[in-house]
Amino acid sequence: MIETLNAGVAVLILALAIFTIATRELFAAAVGFIAYGLLLTLVWAQLHGLDVALIEGAVGGGLTGVLVIGSAARLRGTQVTASAERLGASARAAAAIVAGVVAAVLAACVLALPDPAPTLAPQVAANMTATGVGNPITAVLLAFRAIDTLLEVIVLIFALIAVWSLAPDGVWGGRAGPRYDADPNGILVYFARILPPIGVIVGIYIFWVGADHPGGKFQGSTFLAAMWLLAARAGLTDAPPISRVWVRIAVVAGPVGFVVIGLAGVVTAGAFLAYPAGYAKPLILAIEWALMPSLALTLALLMAGAPQRPGVP
């Protein structure tokens, strides 16, 4: 029974991916992509990756979806010029052959995966007690592979700097995107007033339980960023000018705290990002608390995009 459902989900996802690629309408492609991203969360649930399902729904389906649908709306008129550059039939056939070969090789690899599968789960289980956290994913993210997580949050800052640097010279240091205005009695403003208090609590809850259950700072901060985005799109709040000192401090505070705790590990535990015995859990929680606001702000500012207006009206 469940296998039939799995096969059904797989077929549906493939169909949505093909629709996203094949449809002629840019806007339809963006909508198809959002549905595709949300359906992927079912795949993650079936693959027993609840933490991944949460992040896929929040980031892969949610934030990326808002991003592409917003830009699809702005680029609507460019559809015609783009279709004039369509590749010839022979080039398309060659592309289909290349894509088909890549897919076939990957499928062959899937069928040839070793059995029993190699796994690090026993090692994680054996060493998890030393970290004090109950969620193995959090133990990997902040103890065993903390360097990956550190580099990831730094990548987010680099991406934000790159997006900011796309500002035209005249509005450098200004506010991102247009100032949104919505009908104050409309449904969007209504939702933007009702939903954020609930969404913020859900986000903080997902963050809070992350130490012992599926969830964590990435999923939680995405919720917070989404709630801010909703309020901004409804015109209830505005993006801060990127020249503000507090914005810049808030963006780097979390990663800096992470690096400081990591460097402290050199003295107290003999290695970068190592935790002294018995202090692992408080330090992991400290890093999570420090990262959460910075991540939420960075994700929100990445969604807002490059500055387009002067900071001072």
């Binding site: 991916a17 897919a103 490059a306």
Partner: protein, 113 residues
């Protein structure tokens, strides 16, 4: 067929579909979408491998699952940057073509839209 095999094969096909779209479609936003389809295919493939590594009461190998969380967030950051670049190109030139001939015809705006 077990779930990791079904979704592993699905992921292989997703990579193929995305790759085709990335090569064939001239519209940059759709190239970004296609690239994300490739990316999610790779993620699902890794997720299937993680699921096969289920042991000692864990539903999957937590190491690749944690790397997936990292990967999905970084993919979002890259997408946000790509979309911002595209919108900047659109604001500066009024079109989103990536064709070299067409770009030569567009009058530059001295770097400031």
């Amino acid at each position: 067929m077990r779930a990791p095999t079904i979704f592993g094969l699905c992921a292989a096909l997703l990579v193929g579909v995305g790759l085709f779209g990335l090569i064939v479609d001239p519209q940059p936003l759709r190239k970004i979408l296609a690239f994300n389809v490739i990316g999610s295919g790779v993620f699902v493939l890794l997720g299937a491998v993680a699921r096969r590594g289920a042991a000692v009461g864990m539903g999957g190998d937590p190491v690749p699952q944690a790397l997936l969380i990292t990967g999905i967030v970084v993919a979002f950051a890259a997408t946000a940057l790509a979309v911002a670049l595209l919108l900047r190109l659109f604001n500066a030139t009024g079109s989103v073509t990536l064709s070299a001939d067409a770009l030569d015809e567009v009058r530059p705006d001295d770097g400031n839209a």
